[in-house]
Symmetry: C2
Subunit: 193 residues, 2 copies
DNA sequence: CGGCATGTGTCAACGTCGTTGACTCTCTCG
DNA sequence: CGAGAGAGTCAACGACGTTGACACATGCCG
């Protein structure tokens, strides 16, 4: 349709195409997981997948589209959210402070950098809704529960950006326990209290 | 030194060079003030200044260096900070909610986008220290005042990113007064209380 | 089974980007 | 006045995301 031989629709793929497509997606997931959006070039993804750069665009339409597919399953905050909401604040801060040297930091930095793209923003907003609001708000008593959770996500995002992107020494060099208490309790009061 | 005719050092400039340099800096300030980092090309700055693109690099070394010069005087949060610290939380949120359609939003978005560059990060951290920590911490009673202010900046940054970059409808469509109370008080408790 | 549409892959190229080097002109200072 | 340094022009570099033209291979349908 849009292209004489565009296999953008994954349904009519032949085995070879399926394999190539999978290789590209996996390469993208690997590279986008450990580098920021702009650090990863389409040519690098193609090289990692052992494929022509044109194939990346042909199979996914654009670098941005591939990026979106690469992150949608890797955004989880783990099982922290499932715990009791009464102690969620401290637990979620402790969780991310513990992940300081894991790839999660790079992934968050990549998201921040890519978030000026409309489709990425849309995906992030969707993620906020399903992973946070829909998961937490029902367990709260307040009638403005949804707004409270959304604001909590904003506050959490600010912390992650400081920790992983900005890396302000005032915070990265601070006593983790102190940060957990101060910021965790602040988060907590936003949703319950 | 680094270049046969590099006027990177502003001291030995002749009038013509001084004028060109000023035109470029002003064009940069204008464009970076209303567009994000990547949206503004060196060639566009040069065109806006009526100058050859090479002159931009010659006078400032790089696009990033010019960007840094363009923002360092425009990052202010106004006089909000000077008011009483006891009500700073709500006031600062109200201030930015009021600036929803001002260029401040675009500027913040540009900062977020550019913040993966090391020099920009350094400048932002410096800004956090002199404009926030040094301005607020001395007026607080707590002995962990500096950390509290740094965390407050993180929390504020999260809000600004949601408001200006991410634009999550859960927050942008919410009742501003409700947001001011919820998030403002949360900020407030982080520094006093 | 043959042919034709369609999937798959290769390659070169486009237009953009930030940046650099070679070259010329002009002004200033000794 | 002449030398050296500031100022400006222009073309080009290598990288980027993306596209088009083309060749080859495969699988369905008559």
């Amino acid at each position: 349709m849009s292209h004489p031989t565009a296999p953008l629709d994954a349904r009519h793929l032949r085995p070879a195409g399926r394999a190539t497509r999978a290789a590209i997606e996996e390469a993208g997931r690997r590279l986008f997981g450990s580098h920021t959006y702009e650090e990863v070039s389409v040519r690098a993804i193609a090289a990692e997948a052992g494929v022509d750069p044109a194939m990346v665009i042909r199979h996914f339409g654009s670098k941005e589209a591939l990026y979106l597919r690469s992150i949608d399953t890797s955004l989880g905050v783990g099982a922290v959210i499932d715990g009791p909401v009464e102690t969620l604040g401290r637990r979620i801060i402790a969780y991310f402070l513990d992940q300081r040297d894991s790839p999660i930091g790079k992934r968050h930095a990549g998201l921040v950098q890519a978030s000026y793209r409309q489709q990425v923003r849309a995906e992030l907003n969707r993620h906020t809704r399903v992973r946070f609001v829909d998961a937490i708000a029902p367990r709260l008593a307040a009638d403005d529960a949804e707004l409270r959770v959304a604001l909590m996500v904003a506050q959490l995002g600010g912390f992650l950006t400081m920790l992983f992107v900005q890396q302000d020494p005032l915070i990265t060099d601070a006593d983790p326990d102190q940060v957990i208490v101060l910021y965790g309790d602040s988060l907590q009061r936003l949703i319950t209290g």
